[in-house]
């Protein structure tokens, strides 16, 4: 037996007799600690194994710096979407399905205004971001103020916003943003587009807020039990509403950066972003802080999924593989996070 267990009887004798709970939980917890560490970082191991297999199968194409650059550098839209979804899910809302369309609308508005209406880039970008925040506030109004079910509202909003984006773009992909504007997204910094570092910075700030600030702690309690939070003086509805607005802002900013990087946007492409986003966010509840949705875990999950998909494509899998892969990943992630005591329900 380890020294911890052999010391237990001594502890028990000095403990207060009045208490009813025995110390039987302690040995269980000790054994559980190693397993807990494994739970936290399993994804790193899975990543290494996956990379190893792909590299062995396609040493010339997969095991290159180019692959790494692709994986890390081409996820801009998804990084912003993960942050947006994290805002509401960290305050206990169920999945906000409108984030992808919202980002798509902002990304469409910028080139439409610039190309079709001659608006300056600054104004177009500001409007794109404002639309994101406004749509987020609209979500918040329905869900928080009127108390309507999150899934229903955001599902409706998702389709509605996609329709608006198709309307203003005349059902077409819009392009024609100046190459100079692309620099805000794709300027090369140490081999990677600058947008990668925006994402990294925002994720770190977000993670800091959640873990170390009063706001983050309040969000955690609102997610865990709204009534307990309210009775402890937390402004529950303000935090929930703020989360929707913040999610809209992330989508707005993300939309502007994505359209800048691509020189325009195809509104019908936004739909494809939703599933990877949700998968990554649910994966986050299985790593770093198992049982809790966390931004660092979500970003790691995102790159993990991107690696998996890219590898399958290099192996020659056809267009269907992304659907099968992300669908399966979502189901696995949700199941795992529920089993690990996540708040998936």
């Amino acid at each position: 037996m380890d020294p911890e267990t052999s010391r237990r009887p001594n502890d028990a004798s000095t403990a207060r007799v009045a208490s009813s709970d025995r110390h039987e939980r302690f040995p269980v917890r000790r054994q559980g600690r190693a397993r807990k560490e494994l739970e936290r970082y399993w994804i790193i191991g899975a990543w290494l194994v996956m990379t190893g297999i792909y590299s062995a199968l396609r040493p010339s194409t997969f095991a290159t710096i180019g692959t790494l650059q692709t994986v890390l550098g081409s996820q801009t839209a998804l990084v912003f979407l993960v942050l947006a979804l994290m805002c509401t899910i960290a305050t206990g809302e169920f999945v906000d399905l409108s984030v992808a369309s919202l980002l798509g609308l902002s990304a469409t508005v910028v080139p439409v205004l610039y190309v079709f209406h001659g608006t300056s880039l600054v104004v177009a970008s500001a409007i794109g971001i404002a639309i994101g925040a406004a749509a987020g506030a609209l979500n918040g109004f329905f869900v928080v103020v009127l108390g309507v079910n999150t899934i229903v509202i955001t599902l409706g909003m998702s389709t509605f916003l996609l329709g608006i984006a198709l309307l203003i773009s005349h059902l077409n992909a819009v392009s024609g943003l100046p190459p100079s504007f692309a620099d805000i997204a794709v300027a090369n910094v140490w081999g990677l587009p600058i947008a990668f570092y925006y994402g990294l910075l925002l994720v770190l700030v977000f993670a800091y807020i959640l873990v170390f600030t009063p706001l983050g702690r309040h969000m955690e309690f609102v997610a865990s039990n709204r009534e307990v939070s309210r009775l402890a003086g937390v402004r529950v509805n303000r935090i929930r509403f703020g989360a929707f607005v913040m999610a809209g802002l992330f989508c707005g900013v993300g939309g502007v950066i994505v359209s800048a990087g691509l020189g325009g946007f195809d509104p019908s492409s936004s739909v494809g972003y939703l599933l990877p986003t949700v998968s990554a966010v649910f994966l986050s509840a299985t790593v770093i802080q198992p049982g809790r949705f966390n931004p660092l875990g979500a970003i790691i999950g995102l790159y993990f999924l991107a690696t998996g998909e890219l590898g399958l494509e290099i192996l020659g899998a056809a267009g269907w593989v992304a659907d099968v892969f992300y669908g399966a990943a979502l189901i696995t992630a949700v199941a795992l996070s529920s089993v690990l005591g996540g708040r998936a329900s």
Partner: protein, 521 residues
Amino acid sequence: MTDPPRLAVNGLSKTFGRNRALRDLSLSIAAGEIHGLVGQNGSGKSTFAKLLSGFHTPDPGGAMLVDGVPLRLPTRAAELRDRGVAVVHQDLGLVDRCTVVENLRIGAFSANRLSRAIRWPHERELARATLAELGHDIDPRARVGDLSAADRATVAIARALQHQAPGHGLVMFDESTRALPRASLDHFYALVRRIAVRGGSVLLVSHHLDEVLALADRVTVLRDGAVTGSSIATDELTEGKLIGLMLGHSLRQQPRTERARVTASAPGIRAQGVSGRLVRDLDLNIGAGEVVGVTGLVGSGYEELPYLLAGAARASAGTLTIGDNRIELVGASPRDLLAAGLALVPERRDEHGLALSLSVLKNVTLPQIGTGRSKAWIGSAWELQEARWVVDQLGVRPADPQHRVGDLSGGNQQKVLLGKWLRTAPTFLLLHEPTQGVDVGAHDDLITAVRQAANEGSAVLVAGLDPAELVALCDRVVVLREGRAAAELTPPITADEIVVAVYGATAGTMVHRGGGGHDGP
């Protein structure tokens, strides 16, 4: 006696885990009799009601016979209906959105043989006939939600009676008068008497002793799951004697330890004209260092008061003065009252008290997060210190601040909940059933901690049902009836005195002590 009794209960018991809620209950109700069943909370009344209605399965060995023929146990709704046994529940069990005929006939609708559609004209005729038998003319098509309280009671009783041929059947009223306003009580009593006159039997489960004495022919008294007074004719009974039987000598008397004397000059709290859903225009002063209990029957408003004062439930009128801080309760949020120095320890710790999925440490420090300290950094040392204090002072086991609260036992969760609010050093501490569902050891730890808070200058309000707990905690006990203060008990307070004030129609009835508990069975 040649005829078998309408309802005979022989040796009925019910055990939940290690707790015997009902022990060897025997009971006999004659045809045309109104039989009262009384006892304190937790004495086994509701358990019996749930055994009769088939909600619980009794322990093996007991029997229930209707007109001499045993019921299959657990009882089934269809069999009960066929044998004429009906139950009228606390809230009358009516669906407000539906019509009278729908409420009456639910479960017994007759359908057209071909189309399988409900034969509404026929149903309405049946409903009208049943109501007419009770001497009431209520439109079967009216929505139940639009009826007066008296008519609602009539519909509920008519539903219970419709399957009973005159001269047969038994109706159990399980605290049915709780949902009725005072004005419609006479009407209700008349209906109950009518059942008996028709030859039906009535089992009246009630907290209102005056009501039981006035209506019932005989009374059975339960205490701690056992019969202490068996089928006593009400002619021989007084309210005092009944209370004596309910109390017995089972109450644990807590020795009262000396405490710091309340200084009259110290500012405490002052609640004025507080009204809510149940509470009516209540005034209450509590001095600093004083512990005041509020109690009463369920529905009297004692259970609502802490939430009204804390801004957690909507008040329709009233002000609260904490120290020099006067707060309008209408529209006040919990946040406003917390800022004024109030702390509420609610009854439902799983729903209102603690976030079960989070750690002891996070739960303990929640009220202090974001108040006065930096907005950008919580810090960790002070949090650990706060959680350690709670764990050490209240004896939380396991003594690990990072432990998930949901994994603690009920008693330890309650300690964390109390500790969380004690750490805010409240000027006004409100507790609702602070030791409910807690084992003996934790119970004493909690009592000590609350007294300690009072000694350090908090004004404390304890809302609860358990007389022993109130005696152990309180300097003064206020008894509410129908939302108003009906009695105020001052030291030396005994549990018996509290029970008398709560259950007795007239406060101050002398308890028939000693002999009462023993001359029953």
